[in-house]
Each structure stands twice: as C-alpha cells, then as structure tokens.
Assembly symmetry: C2
Homo-oligomer: 183 residues x 2
Amino acid sequence: MAKILVPLATGFEEIEAVTIIDVLRRAGNSIIACSLQDTLEVAGAHFITIQANKTLKNVLNEEFDMIVLPGGGLGTQNLSSNQMVQELLKKFKKEDKLIGAICAAPYALHTAGVLNQNYTCYPSFEKKIHETGYHSNEDVVIDQNVITSRGPATAMSFALKLVEILNGKPNAEQLKQDMLVKH
Amino acid sequence: MAKILVPLATGFEEIEAVTIIDVLRRAGNSIIACSLQDTLEVAGAHFITIQANKTLKNVLNEEFDMIVLPGGGLGTQNLSSNQMVQELLKKFKKEDKLIGAICAAPYALHTAGVLNQNYTCYPSFEKKIHETGYHSNEDVVIDQNVITSRGPATAMSFALKLVEILNGKPNAEQLKQDMLVKH
C-alpha cells in the first residue's frame, strides 16, 4: 500500500482528479487529497466542489511515496504558480520518488524542473514545455520516476498504470474487471 | 440547454457521478446535483466528499428535463429506499421525461417501476431486476425515455450519449475531441 499526495488546486479537472483518487483507493492505497488554501473545499473547472482531506500546509512534513497532479487549465496555472507545490515536486524528484501528472499538469512539472525528457500532455501544452520527447500517440508515458498522461479520457488508463506500478499487475487487472474496462 | 437533476446519495460511485456532471456541463447544460439529506456534503463510495448544489427537498417543485442516477452499491440502496427519489422517478416517467441510470442504479429505477424492458446495468444486478431485456454487451441501452449504462468504465460513453440526445451529435463529437476520447 502506497501513500499518495494529490494536490487539488482551484480549477482542477474533476474527471481526472476523481478517477485518480477513486481507482488508487480501490487498489488499497492511502490517498491524501490536499487543498492549496486554508479551507478544505476546492472548486473544479466545472464547478464541482470536492472536500480535500487536508490542507497542503499541514502535510509538508509528512512522508509520501508519490505525488500525482490532476490537470485542468486554471488548475495547472495554480499548481505551477504555487510555491509549496513547486518545492514539493523538487523534493520528490530529489528523493527519487514517483511523480505523476495528467492533461495540462505536466506543465507544472516543467516549471518545477522535474519533468523528464519523454512525456505526454494535453495537446498544445507541449509547445509551452518542449516538443522533443513529447509523445502524442501514447495515453501514458513513463520516463524513470515521472509518469504523464493526456486528458479526461485517458485518466482511467493513467490511474490503472499507477496501480500496476504501485500495487502490481494482478491488482490492476482485477480493477479493470471490476470497473468493466475493456482494453 | 437542458436542466438535469442528479441525486447524490451517500455511497454514490464518484467516477460515475463526476463524469456525468462534468460532461453534461461541458455541453452547456444546467446540472443540479442534489443531496438527499439536509446538508450539502455527500460522501461517495471511495470517501470522496462532493458538495451538492442543493438539497433534494428544496427542488421538489422545480421543473427538470431529465433525472440521472449515478451508481455505487450503497448509493443505489439509498436511492431505492428514499421516498423522495422514488416519487420523483415516477413523476418523471408519468410526464414522459428522460431518465438515466448507470451501474447498480437501474435497480433504483426498477424499484420505482420506471425501468423499461430493455436495459443494462452492473453485472449481477440484472438478477435482482429481470433477466429478459438485460443487455450485457451494450455500454448504453436506450429504451424510449430510459437510458441505462453499466459501470465506471462506461460512464464516459453514457455521458456522451446523453449529450447526443440532449444537445445533438455535433456537440457530442466536439466533446469527444476536447476530452481525447478515441472511440
């Protein structure tokens, strides 16, 4: 069982955030969704408000196995301009821990300088990152400890790949069956 | 633009609820997520708490174009035992309005007596409903005004089919592109 930090910034993409949290919890992991503000309620890009488990400020000294960033345009802007998130990303990278990001959020890895050469992201964001090493035909790209994905429709594949990495392939296969995933 | 009621019962399946709300809002519809209790916070099956827009009690006299039920085992139990939800379903059926349900939730349509002959649902729930007319090979089944689907991994197809019905095929196709849906 892994302990995973999911920062929820105002404007996060809801399908992505919820799929990541839901699927990783189904596999038995401990997911701590954290608000960047002092309040726990965080509004997503489509006005769905989710209650975070803790504030980010309150977990800065906790140990985690992985950090995963949901996307969303505004959400990513907030993740890339937030000092706590950017410092945490650098700390995870330095400690060689797992880092994940989907949709626009690989841009927030780029601003922290923790994105590896090979990655994917929501189309057009590669222009703000770097076009060399951008994989437009892969739903999920793994380059060492950094795992990236593309958007709402790839959130399920992304979450299942994280389960495979953290909890093993049989667990991922079981979840695929439980959730009626075909591919 | 359609006005759609999404009841959120304690134990709702989060991927299903959020995908329905997110995608239908992307298409420009007005989605009112309603708590069955007197408080707005509703905890899902995987402990993700979502803030509903209103309490169900407060919208009983509002007019909607459609009602859509997310699934989840406990969520469905709560939907099928809740008098307000069951009466609303009967009212929607009587007024020939659209009714949707995914995963275990078609069972809550069955208990209200509003499910049509042809339907689909999460595997095994057909044994509690009726095996004749159960379609195990379809992600989404439409029988007149009642649209049903199967589980977390079919939530995207389900939501997009609802957009197609409510907002037209071009809107659904545009959303598929925006969310990077392949099929």
